[in-house]
């Protein structure tokens, strides 16, 4: 309606079905149109970076579980790699493969969650979400088999991984990988032929590649805008340079493209895992490293590609057992940089869907 | 079965309806004249129109003894026209109210005393 009513303030969150956690949007609405938008985070702030200064590098690995609790494996991996680069410790070959397998499994699980909640935000009453949870459940089962935890895995260690997967792991993984292409096709047929879903996601929340790069976006949000940037390719860590996989990029940069990029990344992850299972060498799953891990004074910024983007660890050592400064570059927080520009001027449902497509995890935003 | 004391003796005649209609019409006039808010004034007008409808229908029903050739249902047809006019009038008047608010930031008719919009 063009007649402007009185603008009013709407508090979306901290408890709201579509904020995916304790996230608050303070929105000035003019009818259905958002005139101003302010995001308020920090409800889950635990001052992880301060706590980390009191703990050894190994003790900090569980904190990374709690940061991005939907992708604990990649958080673990990022810290482990950062410390390894800092200290020169190396992980055995088998451990690198296991890391790849679990990181990619975690990517599938996280993307399933992200896309499922995105469709829920678009108004489908949880059906796609629960379908995608089916795969996620199986992946979490695999995690539980291996390390005993489903969500906060604490699996990656400095110099390897904590456990060798049990014997039942491999057939179960094979079974899951065999049915994944069928599942992704099923989602594609369910959702991409759905006019309503297309109408809700096409040309909504468009991010141009220029904005995406300048706004420090990373991960599917960046690739959805058409920028072919993936740290697994650009700066291969673990053994990613030994696998053959592609990087999907979107064309328009809208919600739909980000959704599709995630769907395609799931397929690519399946490809990687299949290759890794074929190539994985026998051997130890972790190297012996000194208990007293004292990196020399210095600093490092090391990053890996988490499902949400570039999760970086900036570690400063002063030679003591604990990091002098521990900074986690949170991709979910930084991807929200453009939220205000995207939201202002759009309608409330579009803003909700756009927020869903950015895929935030509050544990990581607030740390 | 015992006979229930009949209310039948309290018949309803045309006069009853006319009195009700007159009361509602009078209240409508008060509302239309005495309210500051343009929308409230419109409510008064609607009340008056309703009262008129009631009169028309009452006459239509109690009019069997009218002259030959008169349609007893003419009253109903008139009411249909009144309804039409009421709908049109409501639409226009509310549009005007919104317009007045947009130009003058008020719908208080006491303050809308400027003919030059």
């Amino acid at each position: 309606m063009t007649t402007s009513a009185e603008p009013f303030v709407l508090n979306i969150g901290p408890q709201h079905p579509s904020t995916h956690g304790v996230f608050r949007l303070r929105v000035v609405m003019d009818g259905e149109i958002i005139r101003d938008l302010d995001m308020i985070v920090g409800y889950l702030h635990r001052s992880m970076e301060k706590l980390a200064e009191e703990r050894t590098y190994t003790q900090n690995i569980p904190f990374t579980d709690r940061a991005d609790y939907l992708a604990a494996m990649t958080g673990n991996l990022g810290l482990a790699i950062a410390v390894e680069r800092m200290t020169g410790v190396e992980a055995p070959d088998r451990a690198e493969y296991l890391r790849v397998i679990f990181a990619e499994l975690q990517r599938i699980a996280s993307h399933a969650m992200a896309n499922g909640t995105l469709i829920s935000d678009a108004g489908a009453w949880q059906t796609p979400l629960l379908y995608m949870f089916r795969e996620r459940e199986k992946i979490l089962d695999l995690f539980e088999m291996t390390c005993g935890a489903r969500l906060t895995t604490n699996y990656m260690r400095i110099g390897g991984v904590s456990f060798e997967p049990p014997a039942e792991f491999w057939p179960a993984l094979q079974e899951l990988m065999d049915e994944m292409p069928e599942r992704t096709d099923e989602y594609a047929s369910l959702l991409l032929d759905n006019e309503i879903f297309l109408a809700r996601t096409r040309n909504v929340g468009i991010i141009t590649p220029e904005d995406a790069i300048n706004g420090s976006l990373s991960g599917p949000a960046l690739r959805g805008s058409g920028v072919p940037w993936d740290l697994r390719k650009a700066e291969p860590y673990c053994v990613y340079d030994r696998f053959d996989f592609d990087v999907p990029v979107g064309t328009v940069g809208d919600v739909y493209d980000r959704f599709m990029v995630r769907m395609e990344e799931v397929k690519q992850s399946v490809r990687i895992i299949k290759q890794a299972v074929e190539q994985i060498p026998p051997g130890p799953h972790k190297n012996d490293i000194p208990l007293a891990l004292r990196p020399e004074p210095g600093e490092i910024y090391s990053r890996v590609e988490s499902p949400r983007g570039e999760i970086g660890f900036y570690l400063v050592s002063d030679g003591t057992p604990a990091p002098y400064r521990f900074h986690l570059r949170s991709p979910a927080l930084i991807n929200l940089t453009l939220l205000r520009e995207l939201g202002v001027g759009s309608s409330l449902p579009d803003a909700v869907v756009t927020l869903g497509s950015i895929d935030i995890v509050l544990g990581e935003i607030d740390r | 079965m015992p006979e229930i004391p009949a209310i039948d003796e309290l018949t309803v005649t045309l006069a009853h309806y006319l009195v009700v209609s007159g009361l509602v019409f009078g209240i409508g006039i008060v509302v239309a004249l005495a309210k500051r808010n343009a929308i409230a004034v419109l409510m008064g007008v609607e009340l008056m129109l309703n009262a008129v409808n009631l009169t028309l229908l009452a006459f239509s029903r109690f009019s069997s003894a009218f002259a030959e050739g008169d349609e007893p249902l003419s009253g109903h047809a008139f009411v249909v026209f009144v309804l039409t006019v009421a709908a049109a009038e409501a639409a226009i008047a509310l549009a005007l109210a919104v317009l007045v608010y947009r130009r003058q930031e008020t719908v208080d008719l006491d303050r809308v005393n400027l003919l030059r919009w």
Binding site: - | L23, I27, A86, I92, A95
Partner: protein
């Protein structure tokens, strides 16, 4: 229809309509008075049923309670919070006088006239079996000209409302305001 029902219905509904019409006048909040207005409309529709005018009653519900009240809701919501009171203006006294006068006049005429003489046998008058077909015949027969005029009127009201409320482009508004000054 049953005469007893009509008598009970008349007294209940007429009481309801007069009281809620009074409450439209007395309510402090504009929305409250809107609610009472709807109650008036509905009880009026009930009165129409006692007059054996089922089509008009349903149309009354449809148009007044369903549409005009919603239009008013929109109008109320489009105006600011501050002007949602239902205050009285300086014309309260003249209004009261006029309203009372007209009510008294109509009441006097209604009571004083010998309607039985004019309408025959009063209540046992016409019980229309079904009014829809007859009204349709009338509208497209005897009153077809009025019917067409009414439809044109509706069309013009539609267009007029759109033209009135339609937002002009920003520059145009600025220019006209400048012209005013």
């Amino acid at each position: 229809m049953d005469s007893t029902g009509i008598v009970i219905g008349f007294w209940v509904l007429s009481g309801l309509s007069v009281v809620s019409a009074l409450l439209v006048l007395l309510a402090r909040n504009l929305l409250h008075s809107l609610v009472f207005l709807v109650v008036t409309f509905l009880s009026m529709a009930g009165l129409f049923i006692t007059l054996s005018a089922d089509f008009i009653a349903v149309a009354q519900i449809l148009i007044y309670a369903g549409s005009i009240s919603v239009l008013m809701v929109f109008a109320v919501m489009l105006t600011p919070l501050a002007s949602r009171d239902n205050g009285n203006s300086i014309y309260l006294l003249p209004g009261l006088l006029g309203g009372l006068g007209i009510a008294a006049l109509v009441g006097f005429v209604a009571v004083d006239t010998d309607w039985d003489e004019r309408t025959g046998e009063g209540l046992a008058a016409t019980d229309f079996p079904g009014t829809v077909n007859a009204i349709g015949d009338l509208l497209l027969g005897r009153y077809v000209l009025a019917f067409e005029i009414a439809s044109v009127l509706l069309l013009f009201a539609l267009l007029g409302a759109i033209v009135l409320v339609h937002d002009r482009p920003r520059s145009g508004t600025a220019a006209s305001e400048g012209g005013d000054d």
